[in-house]
Structure formats: structure tokens, C-alpha cells
Symmetry: C2
Subunit: 446 residues, 2 copies
């Protein structure tokens, strides 16, 4: 018999190895906090879906069910609806991917599932994945579930640093590590807010070729640029070594959970088998909804409308930060997407500071959530995608006050020199030395 | 440089161990065949969704988007919509699960994802899963992807045989196998069409208790009985050792991909972390659609309508089989669900016969798809859920002719005694001796 004490898990010795490492992400942990109305949340990455023409989209989806219920309510193919896969190729052409065939596309339940599938297809426990430092928190969750080891590669304001990537590859080779792929978010990085520059794109692809490196290009934000046309995707430069992940979560709706993977045919075959084992097929209704939306609604104009709205919120964020943040605070200046990556003044710790921020009714995501190695305590992610500009300004004001109060507290503690605060807060910068954040000055020249 | 020859996969040495074992299921392999209009397909398991009130469902879903787009098009919680989880508890109460709390429910992308999550949370490579022989093909795909080993436990017309389960457990114990759980479909089994009898339900739960065995109860068809009220679920008898998988695919719509897992809280926590790593959250729109459907539409009456329709098709199937099948052919007699499990006359092989059946414009799923160990060649699964009764009768007529032609051919080969045909076809019954199918006479008495 197993013990039935309610606080003990009788199955604790029964779980798979991967399960023991699973933990709530820093973002999900905040869920109950950020939904309180008095809190200004700069934490979540929720798109502004109410900017969609809801009546038109509602009629469109209603008609899909009434008129095509035999298809939209029925099982579909594991690879995804053929019509949607065609339209996905049109969308990718906007970023220079003009040679993609619908047969190379697998529709997924958000690009999150796409990344999970790619990781399951390629990674055994102990394999190494290279990823920017910081990196998308949801990707780190996938890699952890696959029992892969993540090695972060530093970024700066121009994105991933090619020399640092090459150095990481050489070190992995020397260690005998099996590097399965580089995971990168080249456009309007989550959480760093930076974009991989044009010359670096070619440099990364060249390195991939030289080192026979597979690249997973995760691109949910690429069409949400404020200042220029979309940049040419890595996949547009290499159709054999780059696997591309796309999503309609930010250009249309995240609640439909429609994303995709574009992969060479041999890999695509494996991905279809993997997704059939995981979900049989993606939901038919949501796929038809996206395909019909692209067929009948002014989706390019809608993306422009979204970017205008996000640009206004980005401006409110940067203006407030410029006006209010105490000296020693630095941040990135995104020209698209949802996020600013902020570095606290020397010695402060965003995770330790979090309860006080929530007490002051402002929420952010602590930087440690975006590193697999526990570093990042001096950073935080601020999202401007969801709150209105006035809320953003109020949120930044509250945050500035919290940081100032922390600085006061910190200088008091420094005066009495307990040492403890420093150690927990890594105020010696030890984390920053091993993994360079984008706003850090340890930039490798190139 | 990697070779670029189009027929070689340059990444062949790069995949994870689990990927090498992935193969197309016998059902998915038939996809292109069964969609040809001249073929009567008794292969697929597609529900009769056009029997739904499509206009009403269409209006309902359209209004959900127009009126509640801020919720239905937005990200939701990883565990699933709270209102839907409440309604799921109401649905489960129909099968005697009256103590379930919405907090113990995780909404999944079909129950397929639920099974995948449970398997990922519990199974390391090499772990053993007990499953009926035959077993649901989609479950075998999940277990294979987890690199688990499946040990089949025989069934008969009353479902899984408790004595055989106990024997399997003892043998696994003697072998030092780590048995992670029993996977079972107690109601209107896919593919066997049989239902676990009332006394055996208690016997299975008692064995689970005695051997400290976790049971995964997969129940997509439980409400689709033709002759009596739903039977009491295994989960209703044991809330600690039974993890229950449910689905709206057969009671409402498979194209929405809404299923669920009911699990003790400690397990539920792990499942939520696993699903967040896999898909972030299930689609919001489809969850709201199901919850609203349960709130506003006559869903119990709709299930009655479905069962009437399936009963008529089951009758057409059994009457045609009784009238037309050659001697030596046997089959199960389902009183609910979608499937008949047919055993061919001695010496015939359903996989070898398949091209001739397709040539005669009838499709079925060969039995080997439902075993992890390559057995089952003498069986096939016939689905009556989708074709109209007249099509079913025509399909069975064609199938009977194909079997008769095979018998003729077989007796000719027997006469010249080449031996080859027998070996490939396992006409010596060797497969049946190790794993007993439901129509087999090797039934253990109980």
C-alpha cells in the first residue's frame, strides 16, 4: 500500500527522469498576480487581439462551421490543411522565403508545438542546444523536458554574436558535446528586444555551413517591425540547414494556436510522425479559420494596424524609461515586437525585488526565467504589447520608484556591509561574466 | 559538407533515438486510399459530424468570437478554461465519477495529447507499459515515441482478462521490468469492439491495488452504448490509482481537438507543466466552443441521436457479416462505439490481402497495426461509424468476395505446398499463441 498522506505524492518514485526537472516558468508563476486589475502588468506577452475586426472574424468563423461543418468539425491530416499550408508559403514570402513548398510545411498547435516536435525529433538526453542568452522561456521549457543541455551564446544590440557562436562550437567540439542545433529568435528577440543585423545573418549562415550546424529559426514577430520592411529570414539564405518556425499568434490570434514548421522533406516526414503521435492532427476549425482569414480579410492592413498600436506602446515605454529610470539602469531599444530588456543598476536583483514591485502594483518577468543556468538576476523583461500607453507610463513610474527604493535599501545595506545581500544578488557580476546579456558591455568586437 | 543527393537524408545521423523507430501507422498509411470515392472505407474512425445541428453550432461559435473575442482569441491557462473543466466534471458524472474536482482536470488537444503527456510524465526509455492485445494504434505510437516497451495482455469478449493481467505483472516482476502503468480502453474497445464486464472492472481495480499498479483509463466511447446505460468507470472505483482520459471527439466534434485528463493533484501538476512545455495552452476558441455547446445545446439528446445512427450502422455491419462471410471467419459483436474486430479464416493474412481488397474497392485496417510486437496478421478492424448502412453492406459484400478469393488462392497454394505463403502469413497461428485476440478461443476461464 502507498501512503495516502495528502502532502506526499505516492507516485513520487514513479515519474520519468525528465519530470523531476520540470518547474513553473517565471511567466506562468505570475499568472494570478498579473490578472489583478490594480496591477499594471508589463509581464505577459498577450497580443492586442481586441484590435481585430471581431464581428467580421466571428461571422467568418460561424459560416465556416455552418457551411463546412463536415470538414471544419472533422479530423484532418496530421500535416495540416493543404490550403492553409499554401497560404503559409505566401506569408513566408514576405520575409524572402520564396522557394518553400506546402509539402515542406507542417501545421502545429502554435509554434510552441513546432519547437517541441523539432526537439523531440533531434534531441536525446544530454545533447547540447545552443541558444541566445537570454532566450525565450518557452523554448527553455521544451529543452528541459527533452533533458537537453542548453549552452547560451551572448548577444548584443545587433543580436547573436557570430564570433561567440563560433567559439561556443569550438568549445563544444573540444568537450565532445553533441550539438544538435542553434535555437535563435532573429527578429525583435523575446526577451531581449534586439534584432540580428543583416551582416550577421550571413555570418551565422556561413558558420552553420562551416560547422555543419542545424539552425532553428523561431520567428513569431518578424512582420511586426516599426521602422522598416521585414528582414530576410535565415531560411531564405539556406534551405537545408535552417528549420523555420512561424506563428499566427502575433499577426492574427494566439487563441487559435496555429503555428507551423518549414523543414526539408526528410525532416518534415519525421515531424509529421511525431505530431501524429502527439495530437493526431491539429484542430481543423482553427486551421480553416486562419486560411479563410488570409483568403478573405485584409490581413496585411491588420498587421500594419497592430504595428502602429505596438509602436505607440513602445514609444510610451521608452519615453517613460528615459524620463524616469534612475542612473545605472539600461535597456534595449526595440524597433519591433513586444519587449524591452532592462538591466538594473549594479547590485540589484530583479527576482528579489519582485514582491516589492507587485506590492507597488507593477509586474515584470525576472531575467532568470530566460536563462537555463540561473544567471540573469540583474535583468528583467518589460512587455508593452498589452497595456494602453497611459497604463504603461504609470507602470514604468511605479517600477522606477521601486528601483529607487531598492537602491536606497541597497546603499544602506552596503554601508553596514552584511555581505549577504550581495551574494544572493550576484552584485559582483559573476553571472554577467559567463553569459553576456544584450545590454552588457562585455561585447565581443566584430 | 553534407551530401545533397535528394534521396539521402543528410541529417540521418542527427536524429534522436526515438525518431528511428517512428513509422506511419496502418491507419494513416491508408489515408490517400480511403478518400477515393469509389472505395468503401471501413478503415477510418471518423465520427458522423454532419449529424450535428451545424447552423446552431455555427451561430454559437460565431457569437463567441464576435462577443468574446478578447477571451476566445487570446492565450488561456495551460490547464484549460475553468468553466470547461467544470462542465467536464458534469460529463464524467454520467459514468459514476462524482467526486472529480475541476482542479484535477487538464484540458488537452484531444485525448491523444493527454495520453502523450501522461506517458512523458511517467515513462523513461525501456519502461514497460501493459496494454490490451490488440490496442489503440494511436497509443502504440505514443508509447513508441517514448521508447517504452509494450507488453500486450490478452482480451476476450468480456474485455481484458484479469488473470492474464496478474500473470503479466508477475512475469514483469520476475524479469525486473519497471511497469509504469496499464493502458486500457474499457468501453467499446478500439479496435476490438468489446467492453470490460462489470465483475472484471472490480477485479482489475483490485489487482491494481494489490500490485500498486497505475491504470490509464482511456474512454472516448463510453457514452456511445447501444443497449444500456453507461458503465461505471474504473476511475469511479479508485481515485488514486486511475488516471482517466476523456474526449469530446466522439460526443461532439473531433475537429475541435478537445480532450482531457483527470488525475490526482500531484500528477495533475506535472501534466500542466508538461503541456505548457508542449503547446503553452490548448486553443481558447475550441474550449469556449465546447463549454458553450454544453451550456446551451441539447448535448445529451445529440449523443442519443449519434448512438441511434451508429447502432443502425452496427446492425448493417453484423447482419452483412452474418449473411456473407465464408466459414472460418469470426468477429466481435460490439454493443457500442465504432468497431468490429474480425478474424480471418485459418492461414489468411490481412496485410497481404490489403492490396487485393483496395483493388476490390473496400478498405479496412490490418490487425498488425494494433500490436506492438508484429502479431495480429489474421485480424482486421472494420469501422462502421462513417459510411451509410447501404455503403456498409456493399463494403462487406466486397470484403467477403476478397476473402473467398483468398481462400481459393490459399487452397491452391496449399495443394502445391510452397511453404512461403504460410511463413509470411503466420498461418501456423504462432502470433495468436503469444498474444490472444478477443475472437480467439485461447480464452482463460474466469
Amino acid at each position: 500500500m502507498v501512503p495516502r498522506h495528502p502532502r506526499l505524492d505516492p507516485l513520487a518514485d514513479r515519474y520519468a527522469a525528465r519530470t523531476h526537472g520540470m518547474k513553473t516558468s517565471e511567466i506562468r508563476a505570475l499568472f494570478s498576480v498579473v490578472s489583478r486589475p490594480e496591477v499594471v502588468s508589463l509581464a505577459g506577452g498577450m497580443p492586442a487581439v481586441t484590435a481585430l475586426p471581431l464581428d467580421a472574424v466571428g461571422s467568418m468563423i460561424g459560416e465556416l462551421v455552418s457551411g463546412m461543418g463536415a470538414q471544419t468539425l472533422q479530423y484532418g491530416s496530421g500535416q495540416g490543411d493543404p490550403r492553409l499550408r499554401e497560404r503559409i508559403c505566401d506569408v513566408m514570402a514576405l520575409e524572402g522565403i520564396t522557394d518553400a513548398s506546402p509539402s515542406e510545411v507542417v501545421v502545429t498547435v502554435g509554434s510552441q508545438q513546432g519547437l517541441d516536435l523539432v526537439t523531440r525529433v533531434f534531441c536525446d538526453p544530454g545533447d547540447v542546444i545552443l541558444a541566445e542568452g537570454p532566450s525565450y522561456v518557452g523554448a527553455l521549457g521544451v529543452f528541459q523536458a527533452a533533458e537537453a543541455r542548453v549552452r547560451h551564446v551572448p548577444m548584443d544590440d545587433d543580436g547573436l554574436i557570430p564570433e561567440a557562436l563560433e567559439q561556443a562550437l569550438l568549445e563544444c567540439r573540444a568537450n565532445g558535446d553533441r550539438v544538435k542545433f542553434l535555437y535563435t529568435v532573429p527578429n525583435f528577440h523575446n526577451p531581449a528586444g534586439v534584432t540580428l543585423s543583416e551582416p550577421r545573418r550571413q555570418a551565422i549562415v556561413d558558420i552553420a555551413d562551416r560547422y555543419d550546424l542545424l539552425v532553428i529559426e523561431d520567428n513569431p514577430y518578424g512582420l511586426l517591425g516599426f521602422d522598416h520592411e521585414p528582414m530576410r529570414a535565415l531560411r531564405a539564405r539556406d534551405d537545408q540547414r535552417v528549420i523555420y518556425l512561424g506563428s499566427f499568434s502575433k499577426t492574427f490570434s494566439p487563441g487559435l494556436r496555429v503555428g507551423w514548421v518549414l523543414a526539408p522533406l526528410a525532416v518534415r516526414e519525421k515531424l509529421v510522425l511525431a505530431t501524429e503521435a502527439q495530437v493526431l492532427c491539429p484542430p481543423s476549425l482553427t486551421q480553416y479559420a486562419v486560411a479563410r482569414y488570409l483568403d478573405t480579410q485584409p490581413w496585411r492592413e491588420q498587421i500594419k494596424l497592430f504595428t502602429e498600436l505596438y509602436r505607440e506602446r513602445r514609444d510610451a515605454t521608452l519615453e517613460s524609461l528615459d524620463a524616469l529610470m534612475p542612473p545605472g539602469t539600461t535597456w534595449t531599444r526595440p524597433d519591433g515586437g513586444f519587449y524591452v530588456w532592462l538591466k538594473l543598476p549594479h547590485g540589484l536583483d530583479s527576482k528579489l525585488m519582485q514582491p516589492r514591485a507587485v506590492g507597488a502594483h507593477v509586474a515584470y518577468v525576472p531575467g532568470i526565467g530566460f536563462y537555463a543556468d540561473g544567471s540573469g538576476r540583474e535583468y528583467m523583461r518589460l512587455s508593452y504589447c498589452y497595456p494602453e500607453p497611459d497604463q504603461i507610463r504609470e507602470g514604468v513610474r511605479r517600477l522606477a520608484r521601486v528601483i529607487e527604493a531598492e537602491l536606497d535599501l541597497h546603499s544602506t545595506f552596503d554601508a553596514v556591509d552584511t555581505g549577504t545581500f550581495r551574494a544572493v544578488g550576484r552584485s559582483d557580476g559573476s553571472a554577467a561574466r559567463t553569459v553576456v546579456g544584450p545590454a552588457n558591455s562585455d561585447r565581443i568586437e566584430d
